[in-house]
């Protein structure tokens, strides 16, 4: 295996994948939660937003569980798996999860009103997979294209995640966890607003 900045290539890709899938799975699975639980709206206590939040919580828990299992497996192969700064790693995971929740809150309403939006959302995650710096170090991307890639909040989360994980990894200066957290805050707020506005309409369907 090639090593980059003292980081094993396998560990480099694994941390990237775990971070990216935290956002992707939370966003896409929770987006479907309203449709999957439509039967429960027979009870007036259950609101559409409940199903989305519960599903996002489940996906976040599963994501962490998968991360622990995969890292433990990597440890059995003799890879260095103890993070340099566990709190920073957890914070990056939390930010990536919250961004997924925000996207899910918005898209769950939008895809109920216009079903095609859900398909577009699923497709949009394929290019994001390439642009989130999972398979290649973002340092290899020259200016000014690197700045453009950093409009993608997932990339910020993945970079900060690696910075907290590996001792000798140089995080590019553009990476900023607060960008990801601000993105999460704005999307969660927007999503909740949409749920307040359209909850009745969704149930009436």
């Amino acid at each position: 295996m090639h090593a980059f900045q003292g980081v094993d290539a396998g560990m480099f890709i694994m941390t990237g994948l775990l971070g990216f899938f935290m956002t992707r799975n939370t966003a896409l699975r929770s987006m479907e939660a309203i449709k999957a639980n439509a039967a429960l709206f027979a009870y007036r206590q259950v609101k559409p937003v409940d199903t989305v939040i519960v599903r996002a919580g489940l996906e976040g828990f599963l994501g962490l569980l998968i991360a622990l299992i995969l890292l433990a497996g990597a440890g059995l192969f003799g890879l260095e798996i103890v993070p340099r700064d566990p709190l920073q790693v957890l914070l990056a995971f939390a930010g990536l999860w919250a961004a997924g929740l925000g996207l899910a809150l918005i898209m769950s309403v939008a895809s109920q009103l216009v079903p095609e939006i859900g398909d577009v959302m699923r497709l949009a995650f394929t290019p994001l997979y390439l642009f989130s710096g999972i398979m290649f170090p973002i340092q290899f991307v020259p200016h000014p294209y690197r700045e453009w890639l950093f409009y993608n909040p997932i990339l910020h989360g993945v970079e900060v995640l690696r910075g907290g994980y590996f001792s000798h990894y140089h995080v590019v200066p553009e990476a900023d966890l607060s960008f990801l957290l601000a993105f999460a805050l704005v999307t969660v707020f927007l999503g909740l607003v949409l749920h307040v506005r359209f909850a009745r309409k969704i149930i009436a369907q």
Binding site: N37, A38, A39, F41, A42, Y43, R44
Partner: protein, 222 residues
Amino acid sequence: MILVNDVYKRYHTDHGPGRWVLEGVNLTIPPRTNVGLMGRNGVGKSTLLRLIGGNDTPTRGTIERHCRVSWPMGFSGGLQGSLTGRQNARFICRIHGHESDMPDRIAQIEGFCELGHAFDEPVKTYSTGMRSRLQFAMSLAFDFDVYISDEVTAAGDVVFRDKAHAAFKKVADHAGLIMVSHAENTLKQFCKAGVLLHEGRAHWFDDINDAFKAYKASLAAA
């Protein structure tokens, strides 16, 4: 006591707002009264039940519930397919605030529905009859002041139907009931008063037999 004040309802269709289903419904349903709701297909009986049950909101007008009202029972929904019967029962207990006495209520549901080991299988593997057994057992497990029933007693095989009938009769004797059914005998058996929905409006009758006469007259006129 349930107050329905000047309720209008229409649904949004693919081509703009639909026709008015309910046009100015006024009803006062006194406590502990059994009411049969009748009208031809598509006149808005289920819509009115959903509004009273709080599953949907009126386009105009208000609905006041001064008592504990059940969910519309015998509804096709209400069960999450990937959960088992037991997990569905736990869920219903939780959202109705019966966390503390949950084991008792689940035992009651399990005993009544007589599903055996299928109670611990996912609901999506159930047949229609098994589903309605579970739905019926769950609806009997809570003490509501008013039960809303959308064709609920038509459930399961003959033995279960008799048992359900008897249990439902017992519930209807000490609580209020708002019921939709196309079976004249069922309505007459359970309900004293009647409401006829006709052309978007509701007409109250103190005696269900009078309601049936008016219903038949309206059918003949149409």
